[in-house]
């Protein structure tokens, strides 16, 4: 069939032969294609008239389309259309949509917020964003912290207390964890004994003889550990002294150390060198009161609160 077709019709050529017999077919473009091209030209002209187009020196043709927005100083401005103003407008709109929720946050008590399903949803999403922007650099995205650097917020141990008020206090004023270096007042042997005693408190492998000596030292005026960590080693929340008898490790990287000797060495290291790096900045003034309130409830929920 196709052969018949080829024979029955002659294909147009451009009418010129090169090298004797080399010819070029002329398969013309359908004319609507050309019209489409003209239509795009007209579209471009209209587009130039409406939107910013040509640069002129340091200025540009702004176009007929205008955008009205409120700038960061709260002034209403009208400018030729641009994406920066559009972004401001969108941000203002988003803030306006969030405002009723933040208003509710400031009007409600912590307990009310925590028990309201709708507000709970808001805390989970708004709190997550605030946490990611401000807290995650130290406490990590999920609040799990880093052993020996930043406290874990997802466990059930609260250095300064896990009530809404205490968390709020921590956020507003910041915290400073401090422990003196005992290498200056105690002999290496004594520090080793203390480390074994702390290991015993937490129920991990230790030398019983050294631990017994450490027990005496812990409660003596020489080392005076009990002043801060309490007679039972359970710590004091009013000054943020950690509980030494539980399974949670803040400074000594015990969980990541396998051998029993290594674990004791990690504890020894903390006792000898002390700590001066437990700094949490104050957020009052940096975040709005509503934002801090949202974060308080969010952090409270991370670890279950107290």
């Amino acid at each position: 069939m196709s052969e018949q077709k080829l024979q029955s019709q002659t294909v147009q050529t451009t009418g010129h032969a090169w090298d004797g017999d080399l010819q070029e077919y002329n398969n013309p473009l359908p004319v609507w294609w050309v019209y489409t091209f003209y239509a795009t030209v007209i579209f471009a002209l209209i587009y130039w008239a409406i939107y910013p187009s040509w640069p002129i020196g340091k200025d540009w043709i702004g176009g007929l389309s205008k955008i009205t927005y409120v700038n960061s100083a709260g002034e209403t401005r009208t400018h030729s259309w641009n994406t920066r103003a559009l972004l401001l407008k969108d941000l203002n709109q988003a803030a306006a949509e969030q405002k009723p929720y933040f208003d509710k946050v400031s009007a409600m008590s912590y307990e009310q917020i925590a028990k309201d399903p709708e507000m709970n949803g808001f805390i989970l999403s708004a709190g997550k964003a605030l946490f990611a922007d401000n807290c995650a650099p130290c406490h990590q995205a999920g609040g799990q912290g880093v052993v020996a650097f930043f406290p874990n917020l997802t466990d059930d141990d609260w250095l300064y207390g896990g009530s809404f008020d205490k968390i709020h206090e921590t956020l507003m004023g910041g915290r400073r964890g401090y422990m003196p270096a005992f290498s200056e007042v105690l002999a290496g042997e004594q520090i080793d004994q203390l480390a074994n005693y702390v290991a015993k408190l937490s129920g991990i492998g230790h030398d019983a003889t050294k631990a017994a000596a450490g027990d005496a030292l812990f409660h003596s005026e020489t080392a005076a550990c009990f002043y801060c960590h309490g007679g039972d080693g359970k710590g004091r929340k009013d000054i943020g002294a950690p509980n030494l008898s539980d399974n949670i490790w803040l400074w000594a990287n015990v969980p990541e150390t396998d051998a029993a000797g290594g674990k004791v060495a990690a504890i020894r290291n903390v006792i000898a060198n002390g700590l001066n790096k437990g700094v949490m900045p104050a957020w009052a003034g940096r975040l709005s009161p509503e934002q801090i309130k949202v974060l308080t409830v969010y952090v409270h929920e991370l670890g279950g609160g107290q």
Partner: protein, 478 residues
């Protein structure tokens, strides 16, 4: 020196206008019924009322701001995107399946380009008359009659195009309100923009461009032809019968009956040209199967009419397969489906359709996702217990507010802690979030790899759904 440009034939090819002659017959009847049915559904469906508790009373409403599609008694949420995927898959396979069997049936009878072009030609025919009258009108200079007839044709086309656009928008907004708002200038800008774009594109595609859409623009037409097989039925001209030894010839005296034509070695084709005149894409089917053919069957109707008037047997142009036409003794054309490809497509079609029906039929009244919180995977608590946390999202797909209770299976009863929310109440079409934490003693944690969280709609225990989740602890790393 010759540049090759002296004898320029023109850079662009003007469209050759096509004036189709109307025709009667089986395929015309079929096309008309499809057109009437499709138009009835498309134009009337948005006006069909359907009473609902919490949404406009419109049977089919694609509620974009509400993030849901309301289709009669079914509410489709974005989470049901699998249904859309299935629907698209079924549509694609159906196209392949049908094309393998009977060629470009979609193009010829069901494609909206074909339907709208057909209707626009009908308008043209109603105002300007039959083909010769339209050709005459086209050739005559611009006078009162021509301006009136051509003008009113285009005006009607624009009107139909406009209503086509407005109907489309009516699927996305409560139709009675939308139409009033549209004409009083109160509708959203998106409505005006969409209606304008659709009206203009309908007018351009069905009124002005017509077969050029199928020839130059549409990808389906091109890729449907590669799905043809030798067994595929398509509109064919029986060249062996039509041309015989000495070709086609008009039915002049002495070659009017079949017997006379056999004697002279003439084919059955009387070269009346009717098959060309009725063709909406302006081709001659007697040149063989070609890419422009949308297989609408109108040339079959035209040829059968002529064959009947000469008392020749029908079917000079007919649905047949290339294989059958080339056979030494052609059999009666029939749909040949006993091929691996066709059976495969058919099986896929049945399977996927069954799955879609099953999936819609057994859909729960709510959707749930349970995500284990992975930062951190587990937490060691002060007494050595291990805690894992989970975020449960429940989407209420029912028409009324519903309270859900959450419980666990495979862990001790007191291990699951839901904080302040023992149960959660969710509005229809909304989602609720619950944080659950599970606390296990170290020994228990080491034994527990997985457990199940069970979500029960209050008062509907039968609709409870369970979700298996992991439990991580320090001993076992993923």
């Amino acid at each position: 020196m010759q540049t090759g440009l002296e004898d320029q034939l023109g850079l662009y090819q003007k469209r050759i206008p096509i004036f189709t002659r109307s025709v009667k017959g089986r395929f015309r009847r079929f096309k008309t019924s499809v057109l009437v049915l499709a138009y009835a559904i498309y134009f009337l469906l948005p006006w069909l009322p359907w009473s609902r508790l919490d949404a406009p009373a419109q049977a089919v409403l694609f509620d974009l701001p509400g993030r849901r599609f309301l289709i009669f008694g079914l509410t489709v949420y974005p989470q049901d995107v699998i249904w859309l995927a299935l629907l698209l898959f079924i549509a694609a396979i159906l196209l392949f399946f049908v094309t393998g069997l009977v060629g470009r049936a979609f193009c010829g009878y069901f494609c909206f380009q074909t339907l709208w072009t057909d209707f626009f030609i009908w308008i043209e025919h109603a105002i300007q008359g039959e083909r010769p009258a339209r050709v005459r009108l086209y050739r005559q200079p611009w006078n009162r009659e021509k301006v009136l007839k051509i003008g009113s044709t285009h005006a009607l086309w624009l009107l139909v195009s406009f209503w086509t656009g407005l109907t489309f928008v009516a699927y996305f907004s409560y139709a009675p309100q939308l139409v009033v708002a549209f004409f009083t200038g109160q509708a959203a800008a998106a409505a005006y923009i969409t209606v304008s774009i659709l009206a203009l594109s309908t007018y351009a595609a069905a009124g002005l461009m017509r077969e050029q859409i199928c020839t130059y623009v549409c990808p389906y037409g091109r890729f449907q032809s590669v799905m043809y097989e030798p067994e595929t039925l398509a509109v064919h001209y029986d060249a062996r019968r039509g041309e015989a030894a000495h070709g086609r010839a008009a039915a002049r005296a002495g070659q009017r009956t079949l017997a006379e034509r056999r004697d002279k070695g003439l084919g059955d084709c009387v070269d009346c040209g009717l098959c060309v005149q009725v063709c909406p894409v302006g081709i001659d089917i007697r040149d063989g199967l070609q890419y422009k053919c949308i297989s609408c069957g109108l040339c079959i109707d035209a040829c059968n009419t002529i064959m009947d008037s000469f008392s020749f047997p029908r079917g000079l142009i007919r649905y047949d397969s290339e294989k059958n036409l080339a056979a030494a003794t052609p059999a009666a054309p029939r749909v040949q489906w006993k091929r691996l490809k066709t059976i495969g497509y058919g099986a896929a079609l049945i399977l996927m359709s069954a799955y879609l029906v099953y999936s819609i039929g057994t859909r729960g009244s709510f959707d749930r996702t349970v995500n284990q919180i992975r930062q951190p995977l587990y937490v060691v608590l002060s007494n050595g217990d291990i805690r894992n946390r989970y975020q449960i999202r429940i989407t209420n797909k029912a028409a009324q507010e519903q309270t859900y209770q959450i419980s666990a299976r495979g862990i001790p009863a007191n291990a699951l802690d839901l904080g302040n929310f023992r149960e959660i109440t969710v509005k229809p079409g909304h989602s609720g979030l619950v944080q659950a934490s599970v606390r296990l003693a170290p020994a228990q944690a080491a034994r527990t790899q997985r457990f199940e969280l069970i979500i029960t709609p209050q008062g509907k225990a039968a609709e409870a759904r369970s979700e298996a989740v992991r439990f991580d602890s320090p001993g076992k790393r993923p």
